[in-house]
Amino acid sequence: MIEFKNVSKTYQNGTKALNNVNINIDKGEFVFIVGASGAGKSTFLKLIMHEETPTNGKIFINGTNVTNMHHRKVPYLRRTMGIVFQDFRLIDKMTVFDNVAFAMRVIGASPSAVKRRVPYILGLVGLKDKANSRPSQLSGGEQQRVSLARALVNNPLMIIADEPTGNIDPEMSYEIIDLLSEINKYGTTIIVVTHEQNLVKQFNRRVIEIGNGQVIKDSVPMPDLDNEADSSEGQI
C-alpha cells in the first residue's frame, strides 16, 4: 500500500529530516509511528500525502509511483486518505459541521449523504453538540477531534493521523485509538503518530520508531492477546 524506497528529505534550509528510509506498509495494517520530537515523523506523513516531495528515493502508494506526481493528480491521491493534521488545519470561517462536510463535498457527495453522515461522525468523536461552533470557539482537544472527524468521514482507504491525541485526556485518547482499531478491522490501513507510550502499550500493534531521520526500530505486534485475529501482517 505504502512503500518508501531509500527516501531522503532535506528541507530547503538544509535540515535533513529523513535519511534513506525504507518502509513498507501493507493494506489493512495498523502502525504506530513513534520517535523523539523533530525525528522526522511528520515529514514521513507529509511525504505520503504529497505535501512534500522527497529529495531522493521513490514513494509508491497503492502501487503507483507518486514521487513526481503531477500536481493535478494530487487531489485524487489525497482523497484515498483521511488525514489528521498535527496542527488541525481547520477553516475558521466554517462551522464544525462544514469543516467536516467540506471533505465530503470535495468528493462530490450528495447533500443528503452529507446531512446523514456528518452528524454521525461528529457523534463518534463526541462533538455532536458543537456542530455549529467555529473552530476558534472550541477547546484544543475538541479541535483535534474535528480534524479526526474530517479524516474519518469519507471512509478512506487509509487514515493517517499525526498525534491525534496530543490534546486529549487519556480516557478519550483510548477511545479514539479504539475507534481507529474498529475501523481497521474493516480493512482500512491506519498510521498513527503518537508519543503516548501508554497507548502504544495498550494496543498491541506494529510500531515503527523513527530517530534522527532513520527507522531505528520496526517491531511486529506480539502474537498474543485477543488482538491476534485482526492483527496486521507485521513486516520488518
Binding site: 504529497h50 500536481h71 493535478r72 488545519r89 477553516i91 467540506f102 463535498r105 470535495v106 468528493i107 447533500p111
Partner: protein, 301 residues
C-alpha cells in the same frame, strides 16, 4: 461535477461574501472608487467632445457677395451654396443687417454714418460647415459659385477647433486608459491582498483533496458578486456625482450637459460587466498563485 456540487460551490461563494464581509466591504469600496473614477472620466470626455463638436458646428462663416448682386439674384446664389455638401446651414444676411453687427464695436457717431446709404458692406450669406476639417475644400467650392466675392477668412479658427476636437478625443481616451490602468492596478493589488490573507483557507482545502476547480469556483463566484454589487453602487454613485457636478457647472456657465438618464443604461451595463469581469478574473488569477503551493510553502516569503 454534479449539479448539486456545483450549486454548493456557488452557495459557498455567496456565503463567503458575507463571511469575509470586512474584506468584501473593503474590496467593494475600492472597486467602486475605481469604477467611479473611470466612469466619471468617460462621461466628462463625452460631454467635452459633444461641446467642442457643437461649438464647431455653430461656427459661422460669412460669404460676401459681389457689390452688384441684388437681393433677388442672391436667392439663386443661396440655392447654389446649399447644394455644396459639407455646408450644413446657409442663411441670407443683407447688408443692412450686416452693418448692425459692428454697432457694438464702433463709436455711435461712426455707426450712424455707416447705416443706410453710407453702408460699405455687401450682401452676404452666413453659412456653417458640418465638418470643419474639410474647410479648405469647401472654400474652393464656394468661391466657384457665381456672384460670390469672398469668404471671411476664419481658417485659423477652423484649424484650431479641429485640433481642439482631436485633442479632447485623444486626451479623453488617454485619461480613460490611464485611469483604467490605475484602477486595474489598484484592484489587482487589492485582490492579491485579499487572497494573501486567505491562503491558509486555500491550503487547507487542498489538504483535504479539493481539486483546483473546486477551490476556485467559490472564489470566482465571490469575486463576481462583489463585482456586481460594486457595479450597481457605482452606477448610483456616478449618477449622483454627475448630476451634482453638471448642475453646478450649469449654474456657472450656460451649458447643456447630456442628461444622465440618456447614458444610464450604458453606464450600468458597462459597470456591471466590468465589475463582474474584474471580480471573476481576480478570483481566477489570484487563487492560482496558491494552488500550486503546498502546506508550509504557502507560508513562505
Amino acid at each position: 461535477m454534479s449539479i448539486s456540487g456545483f450549486g454548493y460551490l456557488i452557495k459557498e461563494g455567496l456565503k463567503n461574501v458575507w463571511n469575509n464581509r470586512m474584506m468584501s466591504i473593503a474590496s467593494i469600496g475600492i472597486l467602486v472608487s475605481c469604477l467611479l473614477l473611470t466612469g466619471a472620466a468617460a462621461l466628462m470626455s463625452v460631454n467635452v467632445q459633444q461641446t467642442v463638436k457643437a461649438v464647431g458646428e455653430s461656427n459661422v462663416f460669412t460669404v460676401y457677395l459681389k457689390q452688384n448682386v441684388t437681393e433677388l439674384q442672391a436667392v439663386q446664389v443661396g440655392e447654389n451654396l446649399k447644394n455644396i455638401d459639407n455646408i450644413s446651414s446657409c442663411k441670407f444676411l443683407s447688408r443692412d443687417e450686416a452693418i448692425k453687427q459692428y454697432k457694438k464695436d464702433l463709436p455711435e457717431e461712426i455707426y450712424q454714418e455707416l447705416i443706410g446709404q453710407g453702408n460699405p458692406l455687401p450682401n452676404a450669406f452666413k453659412i456653417s460647415m458640418a465638418d470643419l476639417s474639410k474647410y479648405s475644400d469647401t472654400v474652393t467650392k464656394i468661391k466657384k459659385v457665381s456672384g460670390v466675392d469672398q469668404i471671411s477668412n476664419k481658417s485659423d479658427l477652423a484649424a484650431t477647433l479641429t485640433k481642439l476636437n482631436n485633442l479632447v478625443s485623444t486626451a479623453g481616451i488617454w485619461i480613460i486608459i490611464i485611469l483604467g490602468l490605475i484602477s486595474l492596478f489598484i484592484i489587482s493589488n487589492t485582490i492579491r491582498m485579499t487572497m494573501y490573507s486567505r491562503r491558509f483557507e486555500i491550503s487547507i482545502m487542498k489538504s483535504v483533496g479539493a481539486t483546483n476547480l473546486f477551490v476556485r469556483i467559490p472564489f470566482i463566484v465571490e469575486g463576481m458578486v462583489i463585482g456586481l454589487i460594486s457595479g450597481l453602487i457605482s452606477t448610483l454613485g456616478l449618477m449622483f456625482v454627475y448630476n451634482i457636478l453638471m448642475s453646478s457647472i450649469s449654474n456657472l456657465i450656460h451649458y447643456d450637459a447630456i442628461p444622465f438618464s440618456q447614458m444610464s443604461t450604458g453606464v450600468l451595463v458597462a459597470f456591471i460587466i466590468s465589475g463582474i469581469a474584474i471580480g471573476a478574473l481576480g478570483g481566477i488569477i489570484s487563487v492560482g498563485k496558491y494552488l500550486k503551493k503546498e502546506g508550509n510553502e504557502i507560508l513562505g516569503w
